[in-house]
């Protein structure tokens, strides 16, 4: 009890509160610029935290990343340019809602359910971190293999109206993921002697190109009056209608937060994968799956909660065992060591007020997200008033800056432009791009876990089912695959 009171006094320090506010604004700014990710924002913060005491140093990272993951939704919804990879899963859906004139509803949903997901995830982190971390430690490559396979299966759900074309798109994504040197054998593939291709196709330029540049191209070739104006005439209250959404989708919110936190807690899978899987789950269990992909808020609600839940979940293995749950906590662990808050079960025993203070910051940051996010949305929405013929070149310029910034190489601008043209032709011919993106996200994880599992098992397929969790996941995955056939047989009218 005493340490909790002490923790409150640590956070209530005006300096700490100032750090939280400043890093929140920084996070909002970085997240809203496509190509700049939450991971990058954290890396940029690290040198600043060198000169801070432990609580504000960690507070800066926590608040900055929470804001960045939310604000990635804003350009995604307004410009079809996901600000961070974690928003990619529902970018198309959110943008369609904006085009239907529902920008305030979808942005409000992104904001409110990001905050709720973050809060629920934090609650799990506070109450169950040591126990959950023990579970996460039981996952070896066999378990991850099935998990990734389950994730890839999501592609079928995401594009279920055209399963064959969705599958082709997924395979293209998996093919792109094989490029480069970063494979289990460390053997360069499809690099054609280029040093740039040794590193593989960078994900961010690919994603920005596929979503944003293809939209710019569509604008260029479209004719008619409607091309110059968006449906949006007025921009209403962002929070209006959110209460109704909470009442309509309570299960989805809970499920999104839970799935997000769980995936975040698994080392190696972060907010972006959580958002994809939650979006697919949302569609699979929706009462109106046919509305998905036409500008329907349900998937945004669930996966918006999931990616912020994952952010909190990722701290579970990081705090308890010093094993990063995602790329952000990988950086944060270094800061924890720097500040003498060494990760490990002892973190809850030695100076517990520090870790409690960090938990309080988690809650605070997710609550602060509501007013600050509203501010960001109000500033950003001005974009809708800009004539589209002026906006589109600016978007293209931003795409270039963002693609360059991620690795500081002009090669990635080329990747982005080629991806944009390719996505334009794919969508023209009815090939969805979401499965391709998912294939790239999961492709290398899939290959790595498959290859390492086979090496460990000395080529035996049975090993994929021998461990209890792996066996259960494997059976579940196969059941999911067989379910459409089973349903078809069951529904066949009996003679």
């Amino acid at each position: 009890m005493e340490s909790i009171a002490l923790a409150f006094s640590l956070v209530a320090d005006p300096y700490v509160l100032g750090v939280i506010l400043a890093s929140s604004l920084f996070g909002l700014f970085v997240g809203a610029i496509p190509g700049l990710t939450a991971t990058m924002a954290t890396a940029l913060l690290v040198p600043v935290t060198f000169f801070m005491p432990s609580v504000p140093a960690v507070a800066a990272i926590v608040s900055c990343t929470a804001m960045a993951i939310f604000s990635g939704d804003i350009p995604g919804a307004l410009l079809r340019m996901p600000g961070t990879p974690a928003s990619a899963a529902y970018t198309d859906e959110a943008y369609r809602m904006t085009r239907k004139g529902q920008a305030e509803l979808v942005l409000g949903a992104g904001l409110v359910f990001s905050a709720i997901g973050g809060l629920l995830g934090t609650l799990v982190l506070v109450t169950a971190a040591p126990a959950l971390a023990e579970v996460a430690l039981n996952f070896s490559s066999f378990e991850y293999f099935w998990l990734v396979l389950l994730g890839l299966t999501c592609a079928v759900f995401i594009a279920s109206d055209r399963p064959l074309k969705g599958f082709v798109s997924l395979l293209l994504g998996l093919l792109l993921a094989t490029i480069g040197l970063n494979n289990p054998a460390a053997h360069p593939r499809f690099t054609f002697g280029s040093d740039d291709l040794l590193g593989g196709i960078s994900f961010i330029p690919l994603m920005v190109g596929m979503f944003a540049v293809s939209e710019v191209l569509r604008f260029v070739v479209s004719t008619g009056e409607s091309r110059l104006t968006l449906a949006q005439e007025r921009f209403g209250n962002v929070f209006a209608g959110q209460w109704a959404l909470i009442r309509r989708y309570p299960l989805a919110i809970f499920r999104g937060s839970a799935v997000g936190t769980a995936i975040g807690a698994l080392p190696g899978a972060g907010a972006d994968i959580a958002a994809w899987i939650s979006y697919a789950i949302s569609k699979r269990f929706s009462k109106t799956p046919e509305k998905f992909g036409t500008g329907h808020v349900e998937g945004v609600v669930e996966s918006g909660a999931a990616n912020n839940g994952a952010l909190s979940g990722a701290w579970i293995p990081a705090l308890v065992f010093g094993i990063p749950g995602d790329s952000i906590t990988a950086i944060a662990i270094g800061v924890l060591y720097m500040k003498g808050m060494n990760p490990g079960p002892a973190i809850f025993l030695n100076n517990p007020e520090n870790i409690y203070a960090v938990f309080i910051v988690f809650f605070l940051a997710n609550l602060l997200m509501l007013p600050l996010g509203l501010l960001a949305i109000r500033l950003y929405k001005q974009i809708l008033r800009v004539p589209r013929q002026a906006l589109m070149p600016v978007i293209l310029a931003f795409c270039m800056v963002g693609s360059f910034a991620i690795n500081n190489t002009a090669f990635d601008i080329g990747v982005m432009l080629v991806a944009g043209v390719a996505a334009f032709f794919m969508e023209r011919n009815g090939f969805p791009i979401a499965p391709l993106i998912l294939g790239v996200v999961l492709g290398s994880m899939f290959e790595e876990n498959f290859a390492t599992s086979l090496i460990k098992a000395e080529g035996s397929w049975l090993a994929f089912f021998e461990r209890p969790i792996a066996g259960a996941l494997g059976v579940f995955t196969i059941l999911v695959w067989l379910s459409p056939f089973a349903l078809r047989i069951l529904r066949r009218p009996r003679p």
Binding site: V46, P47, S140, A186, D196, Y337, T409
Partner: protein
């Protein structure tokens, strides 16, 4: 919008203040780019950012860290070598530079740089599960000899530093490396996780990487491949103490610039790197993170790289990793 303008103004003022703080020498008169060949957030990135921050204070001009990742470090190292040798592009080079050209990935090697100083060496150590039946390196090696192929190792990519550290030790102990199959992993953390999940049995890696799991009582370190125990875990014996091996292996980081640097610029940079290394902040940082701080003057650094290069080349050829 007015609000944004004011922020921009404040930013501008801050930048001006930073810029006017330095001395008015010829070099440097503009920002310096500091290339880190590995991703933002990793250990190399942290060391690079710390050095850049400290060098910035000394040189009086911004020293901007740029992560040039990809191709197992090839891309970033090649970017340093290929930069104009004017002192405005320098970078942190890592032990992989002694391996990548043996693998046929690139032509550059340690000799392609102007070395400015080595700042860190982290020796390799052998980690096993805390509840493993072998309590010492001797017992572990006996288990490997008794059941060839049963125990598997992981902790880095195929042909990565830790892979070679382990195989070097095995060769030196007259054990055929192929009796310890190596399972590639994306990072040492991923390998350690697999160790704890009982997927593999041996993880070669540094003590700072295994620290949290060792302190949590999940992982035990059996021996360290250095001439003296690590500061972090002084109770872990050296391989010499454990099995009488003279094998020494580890990863290192040092600052370097492109070749053919002007004399005065090189002298200024050597001074700046040494000053940053010797600063209280850097030493505290290395100690807190558990990294082994170790200084080598540029000349010694160059010889060290040449020696490492030869040793790794021989080892890679023996185990069939070289092209």
């Amino acid at each position: 919008m007015r609000l944004t303008g004011r922020y921009l103004g404040a930013f501008g003022a801050a930048i001006l203040m930073l810029a006017s703080g330095g001395a008015l020498a010829d070099y440097p008169n503009r920002p310096i780019t500091f290339i880190v060949p590995w991703g933002a957030g990793g250990g190399t990135d942290a060391v690079g950012r710390m050095l850049a921050t400290l060098m910035e204070r000394d040189l009086g001009k911004p020293v901007n860290v740029m992560n040039r990742t990809g191709g197992n470090g090839v891309v970033g190292h090649a970017a340093i070598v290929g930069a104009r040798p004017d002192g405005y592009t320098i970078g942190l080079i890592t032990s992989e530079i002694g391996m990548m050209h043996h693998q046929g990935l690139t032509r550059i090697s340690g000799a392609s740089f102007t070395p400015l100083g080595l700042v860190n060496i982290d020796p390799a150590a052998i980690q096993v599960r805390a509840d493993a039946p072998y309590k010492s390196l001797g017992e572990l090696l006996a288990a490997v000899r008794a059941q060839p192929g049963k125990l598997k190792a992981s902790g880095t990519g195929h042909g990565g530093s830790w892979h070679l550290s382990l195989y070097g030790l095995l060769l030196e102990q007259k054990i055929d490396p192929s009796t310890v199959p190596f399972v590639p992993s994306a990072s040492n953390a991923a390998g350690l996780l697999d160790l704890v999940a009982d997927g593999v049995q041996i993880i070669p890696g540094s003590h700072p990487e295994a620290r949290a799991l060792m302190e949590a009582g999940k992982v035990r370190s059996l021996a360290i491949m250095a001439d003296k125990p690590s500061a972090l875990f002084p109770q872990v014996p050296t391989v010499k103490q454990a099995v009488g091996s003279t094998w020494i292996s580890g990863v290192w980081r040092g600052v370097a610039a492109p070749r053919k640097l002007p004399r005065d610029v090189e002298a200024r940079l050597r001074m700046a790197v040494k000053k940053a290394y010797e600063s209280q902040e850097f030493q505290t940082f290395m100690k807190e993170r558990g990294f082994g701080s170790q200084w080598m003057e540029p000349e010694a650094f160059a010889q060290f790289m040449a020696r490492e290069d030869a040793q790794l080349g021989k080892l890679m050829k023996t185990v069939g990793l070289a092209k």
